[in-house]
């Protein structure tokens, strides 16, 4: 969901359709005379409608489904407590199947009815809809962490982007795994937004810590990474950063173990999936893989994740838990905070909602993420990252290693965007 880069053709078609979309929406602002609250698209006297443009049927279908469940769990909780601004919050879920053209037309269809989007899954889709979201001012939670997302004033990024995540991760390797100045650091990364964002982070951290960076680019279709691991081994890389998909992570861990190449592996959020624990790479992953992430793992004992863990089996008993449900829950929580603030300001129009969003300096998600500060466009909402270790004995397969922290190395870092 976070990884594929939009094909040129797709983007071109999307861009063309955007012209049409751009003309279709004229915000209709009205003042609700009874309560004195200004309202606009997606807000009626008794309902606030939010959209979720997600993937329920395509490559990222299972993740999309569980993120929607997370959204729904939180909105149910809010509605049970009386809603926001005396209004129920309703969710309109649309399935784009990670197809950019479909996503663009679904956006055009839903945009006039919703206030904003509590979920938009997939880098190619957020890229294609970027200018449209800015023009229509539909505040949107981007379910991805590319540093380019920070530039859009209407985009909510849940935590820090891949580059900061990677800087914090490399610093962790230096502090906890004994990586020192002069050592070689391997980095296997996908082409596109995700990999490049992470590479900026590892390049910066390697420079700061005096490491020699050995980067190798791979594609989502590369599944046997023997050649790449052999090369890093012969270069004497003391640790390897993985900004790839789950399947590549498993191949690297398995091949490294078979070559007797026993080094710490560090993965970004999208590089791990609990289903890897049923592959032959399981023991290698448990031994060496840490995952850096902005979202607390399902097994976290903080208040927020416990709340999710209690609510999920009640409402969705068949769901195999993973940290994406926490992401969905936290996204809805942040959106609800924005709406509460806008309500207090007496302005539930899109402009009012954006203004309220930028007034939020310290959103507490109860340990689902670290505290989030949305007060400025272009700035990381948080610079703290969780370190998690693979552990097949806990639900979701990842165990928290401590509170989210910002490393010293990351302090001077700013995203190039």
């Amino acid at each position: 969901m976070f990884v594929t880069s939009a094909t040129r053709l797709g983007t071109a078609v999307a861009a063309l359709s955007l012209v049409a979309v751009g003309c279709s929406s004229k915000a209709t602002e009205t003042a609700d005379s009874s309560s004195g609250i200004k309202t606009g698209p997606g807000v009626s006297a008794d309902t606030i409608t939010l959209g979720a443009l997600t993937d329920l049927s395509g490559v990222f279908g299972a993740q999309g489904k569980i993120i929607v469940q997370g959204n729904q769990l939180y909105l149910d909780k809010i509605n049970a407590a009386g809603g926001i601004c005396d209004r129920k919050v309703e969710l309109v879920v649309k399935d784009h199947g990670t197809d950019v053209q479909k996503a663009v037309s679904l956006y055009a269809e839903t945009e006039p009815e919703v206030l904003g989007y509590v979920q938009m899954l997939g880098s190619p889709i957020t890229s294609a809809l970027d200018t449209d979201i800015t023009d229509a001012r539909t505040l949107t939670v981007a379910t991805a962490w590319s540093s380019t997302l920070l530039k859009n004033p209407e985009m909510i990024v849940m935590g820090n982007t891949y580059d900061v995540e990677t800087v914090n991760g490399v610093d962790h390797l230096a502090k906890e795994e004994g990586l020192k100045s002069g050592d070689v650091l391997g980095h296997i990364y996908f082409e596109g937004d995700y990999g490049n964002s992470a590479l900026q982070g590892s390049t910066y951290a390697a420079g700061k810590l005096g490491l020699k960076l050995e980067g190798i680019q791979v594609k989502a279709t590369d599944t046997d990474l023997t050649a790449q691991v052999t090369t890093l081994k012969s270069r004497g890389a003391k640790a390897v950063v993985l900004s790839v998909g789950p399947r590549q992570t498993a191949s690297v861990a398995g091949v490294a173990a078979s070559l007797g190449y026993d080094v710490p592996l560090l993965a970004n959020t999208p590089a791990f999936d609990p289903s890897l624990l049923s592959t032959s790479a399981k023991s290698a992953l448990e031994k060496n893989l840490s995952v850096m992430t902005s979202i607390a793992p399902f097994s976290s004992t903080e208040k927020g994740p416990r709340e999710v863990a209690a609510a999920l089996p009640e409402k969705f008993p068949d769901t195999q838990p993973n940290s994406f449900v926490n992401l969905g829950y936290a996204s809805a929580l942040v959106y609800a905070e924005v709406l509460e603030k806008a309500c207090a300001n007496g302005d539930l129009t899109r402009e009012g909602v954006n203004a309220a969003f930028r007034q939020l300096k310290n959103v507490d998600t109860g340990g689902l993420t670290s505290a989030l500060d949305f007060s400025a466009t272009g700035r990381q909402p948080s610079r703290q990252t969780y370190v998690t270790k693979v552990d097949s004995s806990v639900p979701g397969g990842l165990a928290l290693q401590g509170p989210a922290t910002e490393s010293e190395t990351a302090e001077g870092y700013t995203s190039a965007g």
Partner: protein
Amino acid sequence: MTRLLELLAVGLSLGMLYALIAMGFVIIYKGTRVVNFAQGSLLALGAYAVARIAPSAGFWAAAAAGIVITVAGALLIRFLLARARGHDHMALAIATIGVDVVLTTELTRRIGPDVLSMLDPWGAATVRLGGVTVPQARIAAMAVAVVVLGLLLALFRYTGWGVAMRAASADAEAASLMGIRLGRVATVSWMIGGALAAGAGVFMSTFPSAGLDSHSSTIALAAIPAIILGGLDSTHGAIVGGVTVGMAKALTAGYGSELGFLGAGFGDVMPYVLMVAVLMWRPSGLFGTREFIRV
């Protein structure tokens, strides 16, 4: 030196798998004159069936079932195309792209974000041969590839079906007039093509790969430079082309940083560079039949 040997071992084992995939393309092409672009989704279908059946029935029964299911899939395509008889081969090849899209979409939906394990008996075990570590799954893959490819070459040379296929491939009309049943040749070709796809799919999803995922059907595309390079209608060409592509990919990826001036990720481009170079020298591929046009 060890690194070179290790990369050569990776290249050879990968190359043998490409040879299996390429052989599937070539046999279907020889029997029917259709390039089957649905070979990739057949490959994923076979591996998917094995992954789903193996937990209850064990790997070997699942592998057998996977082959049967993929052969049935290939036959289904063959009869779909037969309904469109009279069209030229280019139209039929494009129809297989349609089949590929449908099958891949359904498999993608079923696989979702999961990485499905084959539950094969080799797991992540390896052996050391002369200082080089080779996964047992890859040794098994090479052994299977050598036996299967050897059998197929013998079939072409020594059996009536082999002669019929070569005749049909050389001149369908004349072969038909000589009493060769083209329909039967086509059916057997599709069956063999399907079985080869299933076998390659299983071994492409065993260690060092993590398993089958929703991207797996694109693996077959990597074999396309192999068949063009070797010659679209040559079984020997498929083997040579497959091994060449495997070696080229492994060596370019392994020495990627020394070849940094070519740009990152050049391993994926290298097979196509080789393909173009060979086509400039021999327009029908290394072993392909040259076309003569008499005026």
